[in-house]
């Protein structure tokens, strides 16, 4: 290099500039008063909290612009707490910033690396320690210890086994059987085809066996079925699927084939079902074929017909598992 390049130099820490409160006692006194006022405000906040807790009933609602109906007890309790806490903080910081020393100080850093001697000594200690244990010279101990530790690591896994039963075929089965009546949810009333107008949707469940009056959420999680009535000519189904409908009424599992949310949004105009969780969209006229979104399979269709009294019943159980996919699912 012909010419030495000179870098810009560090001018060093700038000289300390005194605050007004450092030089003029008047300003210092003023800052002191400000801090005291903040602490007093905090005390008032706590008093507000105490008063609201004891004296303000918790069932008064008042309309406050931008916030809507507010429970006054709750609101004042919270505001009292907020004022009490915030003002302590503000006071402390104002005190630190105006009255405590503000001269920057310099502390030295030290390299973390130990000196070579210490490091060598450390390595030697480890080596001699390991040598004294003699693990390298006694492979039998090493191997049996490894075996014992490895096996004992299985214990917690084993003990967790009873967290739950094995799935068996529970993911594949629902309560729907041949001849099960569809009943309204809520209400548990059986449904006739004439109860549904064209364009109507109904949430249904299988009728409870005689003598039972309680449904478990586990059952609802698999049994929920949506009924939708279209004009029969709107369907675009093969003959088998068409035979699963009744007078334009088609039944699908309400449990999304993607991640199991309830597919609850029905768009009458387009005849689409939409899952509000991840927006998978199913075309009702084409046996709930997925037309948009992340779901990979149509909603399972329940074959329905009517019994001799004219109530809607299942022709057969679902012919595939309902709900999200799982490893053992065959289709």
């Amino acid at each position: 290099m012909s010419k030495e390049i000179e870098a810009i130099k560090d001018p060093g820490l700038p000289a300390h500039v005194h605050r007004r409160s450092d030089i003029d006692e008047k300003y210092a006194r003023r800052a002191e008063n400000q801090v005291a006022i903040l602490f007093l405000l905090s005390a008032l906040g706590t008093i507000l909290l105490i008063v609201s807790y004891i004296f303000i009933p918790d069932d008064i609602f008042v309309f406050i612009p931008l916030m809507g109906e507010q429970n006054i007890h709750q609101l004042l309790l919270g505001l009292g707490m907020a004022i009490a806490l915030f003002c302590i903080g503000a006071g402390l910081i104002h005190w630190a910033k105006t009255l405590m020393p503000d001269e920057e100080v310099i502390a030295e850093r030290h390299e973390f690396r130990s000196n070579d001697e210490d490091r060598a000594a450390f390595v030697k200690t480890v080596k001699s320690g390991a040598g004294a244990a003699g693990l390298g010279r006694r492979p039998l101990i090493k191997r049996t210890l490894g075996l014992a530790l490895g096996l004992s690591g299985l214990t917690p896994l084993l003990l967790l086994r009873d967290l739950g039963p094995l799935p068996k075929d529970e993911l594949e089965k629902t309560s729907w059987k041949k001849g099960t009546r569809l009943v309204t949810d809520p209400g548990d009333r059986p449904i006739k085809a004439s109860d549904l107008e064209v364009g109507a949707v109904a949430q249904t469940l299988p009728e409870l066996p005689a003598g039972e009056d309680h449904r478990s959420l586990n059952d609802i999680a698999k049994d929920a079925v949506l009924l939708i009535r279209l004009r029969p000519e709107d369907f675009n189904l093969d003959d088998e699927r068409l035979s699963w409908t009744h007078e334009g009424i088609i039944a699908f599992s309400k449990i999304c084939s993607h991640m199991g949310c309830a597919v609850a949004l029905y768009e009458q105009q387009t005849k689409h079902l939409l899952c509000p969780c991840h927006q998978s969209t199913f075309d009702v006229t084409r046996a709930a074929k997925v037309i948009f979104g992340p779901a990979a399979r149509p909603l399972p269709q329940l074959a329905i017909t009517v019994d001799e009294e004219g109530y809607l019943i299942a022709q057969a159980p679902f012919n595939e598992p309902v709900g999200p996919s799982f490893w053992e699912r065959s289709s």
Partner: protein, 529 residues
């Protein structure tokens, strides 16, 4: 000696006689901390964690973590007579019958959101300023661990009330577990004690939420802070600040007052939010039942990007030999997040491998002076933000009159196309800012004053910047690219030649920079004027 000083001396003596702490205390009470607003971000996390412990303990006194079905007979009229879990009923009781209960619930939930925002913004600060470099890699990894656990802890927390919204979230979590190849349905049955939803899940996650995870948090936070203390805080470059010193204020009394005060401010702001801003009004959602749902189901924000990835996934599933693999769940729900968190945790090592820089760093980088790192960060952020937006695609679509399809296609394409664009743009902005710094140092600040020279030319008067500012803008070092030889002296290909080639290329890209201004150039320019 005043009486007060004597008492203080006696107390200190009493403690020192029994612990020998005087030497350690003397050194540490005057420990120096550098001052910068962005160093408060981590403090926000710490304080909201303390608020979470306090408000959470309050809530446990009334919350009944049980899925036993009860008929509600409490103060909230619209739900009277409805069947619901004891967990949901007791959450209603906390909200309507325990004085201050709703406030505490809202403080707890707001504190959780602030905790997570704090972690993410703190992480961004540490990333973009290069504070994760040697010797702070451990603390970076602990931080990534805290972020991950925070997401889990938050999810479990808002799942506990067993309302319709959070129950739907649990259903989705169950579907993710169930989607795991081979073991999925077994794990789901173990986690839920049988089929979904069962009656075991809420009590189980309650133990995890109030005991197991807070314990791990406490341990990790302690180590995180001890390392900050022991390694001393990083500082921004500036006059008088070097790799060998820390410039700032002593712990006692300035930082004690400031940090203590800041705790009260964070608590006060959280209480204010809890008082005026309704959050998670579970009584409006109703109790969970698997057959129902409400439109616009959204997770809390820190889960939103995961949900957004799941939403934008194409409908891919493999069915073969009687088994099913749900790529539409596995890729967005497990594989992509797994890759992202792994890369995040390993980033310090990746960067030091690429630059070959194994030295200690205590002076922070200004983001513009590390254009590649900054651009990579912008790229990752863009990916996450597009995902997060897609997590609210239904709300955005209804708010802005778009179709859900437009939103979804925007995200599907955007999540792939926008991050690289963000990289290129950010890198260019960084280099432009370097150029602007150089201009500023060499030619000074534009004053806006125009002067007409005798021969009629107009020039703008520039004012030289202070030596302090000039130093701040030029004190960073500009590394030369690695040049790892491909062949050794005898012309034989060295082992790892391909790896070296990759390192050389990354390192060359890393070294792209606008040469910083030097004193020599400044003097030359002065000569011209």
């Amino acid at each position: 000696m005043t009486a007060r000083e004597r008492i203080a001396g006696n107390v200190a003596g009493y403690v020192d006689d029994r612990t020998g702490a005087a030497k350690w205390m003397k050194k540490n009470l005057t420990k120096v901390f550098p001052d910068h607003w962005s160093f408060l971000l981590g403090e926000i996390c710490l304080y909201s964690f303390i608020i979470l412990l306090a408000s959470g303990t309050f809530l446990t006194f009334w919350f009944d973590p049980s899925m036993k079905e009860v008929v509600y007979d409490g103060a909230y009229e619209p739900l009277k007579g409805l069947e619901m879990s004891a967990a949901y009923a007791s959450t209603l009781d906390i909200s309507f019958e325990v004085r201050g209960g709703l406030l505490m619930r809202q403080i707890h939930h707001w504190a959780a959101l602030i905790f997570m925002v704090g972690i993410v913004v703190h992480l961004l600060r540490v990333y973009f300023t290069g504070a994760f470099r040697k010797p702070r890699e451990f603390n970076w990894i602990i931080g990534v661990g805290l972020l991950t656990l925070g997401i889990v802890e938050g999810f479990l927390g808002y799942s506990l009330p067993d309302d319709l919204l959070s129950g739907t979230g649990i259903r989705i979590a169950e579907a993710i577990i169930q989607a795991l190849p081979v073991v999925g349905s077994y794990l789901a049955f173990f986690a839920f004690g049988g089929a979904f939803p069962g009656d075991a899940f809420i009590p189980r996650i309650y133990t995890v939420h109030v005991l197991l995870l807070p314990g791990i948090f406490l341990a990790l936070i302690t180590v995180h802070l001890m390392l900050v203390w022991y390694q001393k805080h990083t500082q921004f470059p500036g006059p008088g600040r070097t790799e060998k010193n820390v410039v700032g204020y002593p712990l006692m009394p300035v930082y004690m007052a400031k940090a203590g005060g800041f705790f009260f401010i964070v608590f006060g702001v959280t209480a204010f939010l809890g008082a005026v801003a309704s959050i998670n009004p579970i009584w409006l959602y109703g109790p969970y039942t698997p057959g129902q749902i409400s439109a616009g189901s959204q997770p809390d924000w820190y889960m939103g990007w995961l949900d957004g990835l799941v939403r934008m996934s194409p409908p891919l599933e493999t069915h073969a030999f009687g088994y099913t693999i749900s790529w539409n769940i596995l890729i967005p729900g497990l594989i992509l997040p797994g890759i992202m968190f792994t890369l995040l945790a390993l980033y310090p090592f990746i960067e030091s491998w690429a630059t070959g820089d194994k030295r200690e760093h205590h002076l922070l980088d200004r983001p513009r002076n590390a254009p590649n790192r900054t651009a990579l960060g912008a790229m990752a952020l863009t990916f996450t933000i597009v995902s997060l937006l897609n997590g609210g695609n239904d709300i955005i679509a209804t708010t802005f009159d778009l179709t859900i399809n437009q939103m979804m296609w925007f995200s599907r394409i955007g999540v792939i196309v926008l991050p690289p664009i963000a990289f290129v743009i950010t890198k260019r902005i960084c280099l432009s800012l370097q150029r602007a710094d150089r201009e500023l140092v060499l030619h000074g600040r534009e004053t806006g004053r125009l002067v007409r020279l005798p021969h009629g030319e107009f020039v703008e008067v520039h004012e030289p910047i202070s030596p302090e500012k000039a130093w701040t803008l030029t004190s960073h070092e500009q590394l030369a690219p690695l040049e790892l030889p491909e062949f050794d002296g005898a012309g034989v290909r060295r082992p790892g030649a391909i790896k070296n080639k990759i390192r050389n290329r990354i390192s060359r890209a890393n070294a792209v920079a606008v040469p910083k201004a030097t004193e020599t150039e400044r003097k030359e320019l002065e000569g011209h004027h």
